[in-house]
């Protein structure tokens, strides 16, 4: 039986879909069979970031309605043979989602794959609630800014009250990814510190991803940044995926990683 991980954020634009693609691919690169599912009905993006947009023929809605078999809808990634993708419907809206159908779909996916990663839509309405309904774990993606933190807090609150696991008296384990950390701004004191964010959200830190211009380029090309071993963000996602696979990888201090030798020298004379 595989585990179901929902990637949530509350606020939009914090890098939820990018994180889903990278963590999914990272896990697949660790030789685990992994499927990423886009739950953002009507606004699917994950196919583009994974570079699979021209391969989508059958979407999730058609599978749930019984128009097609699950096997026909699942797309195998070009980059890793362990990574699979199930697309959201681009034409339908959120009303296609229905608890019983989702449960059937997720149960079927759990049989087949070790990791089932769900990309939640932004916001906290029905689409979001359906995504978290059957999740075993959740990855919360935030940016170090107050609006993102508050929205994530709200999303966690809803997760803690509406997910099926919580209703059964169990706990949904939550992990935090702090995305787009700018070392320069943190050192100047212009950005929220990770300690403060952890104080507010009170969940386990999974990793910190530094701001990296390569991420956008990688997404545009459909090759997630985790494939780029030189990129700081790519390395961060590789560490995060390793941790999700149960490896014990030390937390790297992204905030104080100065880029130039000169800055390090200046630091000595402070």
């Amino acid at each position: 039986m595989g585990i179901v991980i929902a990637v949530i954020s509350g606020k939009g634009g914090v890098g939820k879909t990018t994180a889903t693609a990278n963590v999914g691919l990272g896990i697949a690169l660790n030789n685990k069979k992994c499927i990423v599912v886009d739950f953002d009905i009507g606004q699917r993006n994950l196919d583009m970031i994974l570079g699979l947009e021209n391969r989508v023929v059958i979407d999730m809605a058609q599978v749930m309605d019984g128009e097609a078999k699950l096997k026909q809808a699942v797309i195998k990634s070009k980059v890793s043979e362990n990574l699979y993708f199930l697309a959201a419907s681009q034409t339908k809206d959120k009303s296609v989602l229905d608890s019983d159908k989702i449960k059937a779909l997720i149960d079927a996916l759990k049989e087949e794959y070790e990791y089932v990663i769900l990309d939640a839509p932004a916001g906290i309405e029905s689409g979001y609630e359906h995504t978290i309904e059957f999740a075993d774990k959740a990855i919360v993606v935030v940016n170090p800014e107050v609006s993102s933190i508050r929205d994530a807090d709200r999303a966690i609150g809803i997760l803690d009250s509406k997910s099926q696991k919580v209703k059964n008296g169990e706990e949904v384990k939550k992990y935090l990814i702090i995305n787009r950390i700018s070392a320069e701004m943190v050192q100047k004191g212009e950005m929220l510190r990770s300690e403060d964010i952890l104080d507010i959200l009170n969940i386990e830190l999974l990793g910190k991803v530094p701001e990296d211009k390569g991420v956008v380029d990688a997404s545009n090309q459909g090759r997630p940044v985790v494939l780029n071993k030189k990129s700081m963000a790519g390395q961060a996602y590789a560490r995060i995926s390793g941790r999700m696979c149960g490896q014990n990888i030390e937390m790297k201090d992204v905030e104080n990683a100065s880029s130039s030798v000169f800055k390090k020298l200046a630091g000595i004379f402070k």
Binding site: I124, V146, I149, R150, D151, D153, R154, I156, G157, I158, D160, D199, I200, N202
Partner: protein
């Protein structure tokens, strides 16, 4: 009537051998000179003279009251009985609730509303049993609206976007970033520059909450803010 209450130390003893008793008091005089001595059994004149000479206060043949727990006292003063009645009522309601759930495997609207009614009554009763005092140690996350009848002691944070309303007193021991609405006699709040606090319909100025723990009180229609635990001064 003028009352005074004392807590005294008592030495309770039975005299078998007079010489031994006197010897004991000679050696331990310093230890027991301020105790009340309770002697069970007969006191001979010899002993009485000795005790008077040493100016020791003593009583003879007294059964001492033993300390009782609050629960025992409550039972004695019938408070307990009342609670038991309520508890029975509570259990009965719970039973009723279960029956309703059992009968209506299909969720009809009537059952739903009945269920809600029973649930809210159970909640009210269980609160009554707790004397209207709630202690919580959960994080109040954004979007949560907490309405408390009575007093609340919260041992965790209140995050931005959350709201707490109490009809009684409110104590929060960690940082508040959300909104508080309190109508009790007092509030106790830590330094909380981002909080939105309304006390009896009046907005409290956050900059006044500068101490480690602040008490906000309403006296003669005026709001007073006094420090409970002062700001730590860093000498370094």
């Amino acid at each position: 009537m003028k009352n005074r209450q004392y807590s005294v130390k008592v030495l309770e003893t039975v005299i078998d051998d007079e010489d031994k008793f006197i010897e004991f008091f000679n050696t331990h005089y310093m230890l027991f000179k301020d105790h009340l001595i309770v002697i069970n059994g007969e006191i001979s004149t010899n002993i009485q003279n000795y005790l008077e000479e040493k100016e020791l206060k003593f009583l003879n043949n007294i059964t001492l009251p033993t300390g009782r727990s609050r629960k025992a006292l409550e039972e004695e003063f019938n408070i307990g009985k009342k609670n038991i009645v309520e508890e029975n009522e509570y259990l009965e309601l719970k039973k009723k609730l279960k029956e309703i759930e059992f009968e209506n495997g299909v969720n009809t609207q009537v059952a739903q509303s009945e269920l809600k009614k029973a649930n809210s009554e159970i909640e009210k009763l269980s609160k009554k049993l707790d004397n209207g005092f709630t202690v919580m140690d959960t994080m109040i996350r954004s979007g949560r609206e907490l309405k408390i009848e009575g007093d609340l002691l919260l041992l965790n944070r209140v995050n931005s976007g959350a709201t707490i309303q109490t009809s009684g007193n409110l104590i929060v021991t960690q940082v508040v970033e959300g909104a508080l609405r309190c109508n009790g006699n007092f509030m106790m709040i830590t330094v909380s520059p981002k909080a939105n606090i309304v006390f009896h319909g009046v907005v409290v100025d956050n900059s006044l909450l500068e101490n480690k723990l602040n008490r906000i009180e309403l006296k003669n229609r005026e709001i007073y803010i006094t420090p409970v635990i002062k700001k730590e001064i860093n000498w370094a």
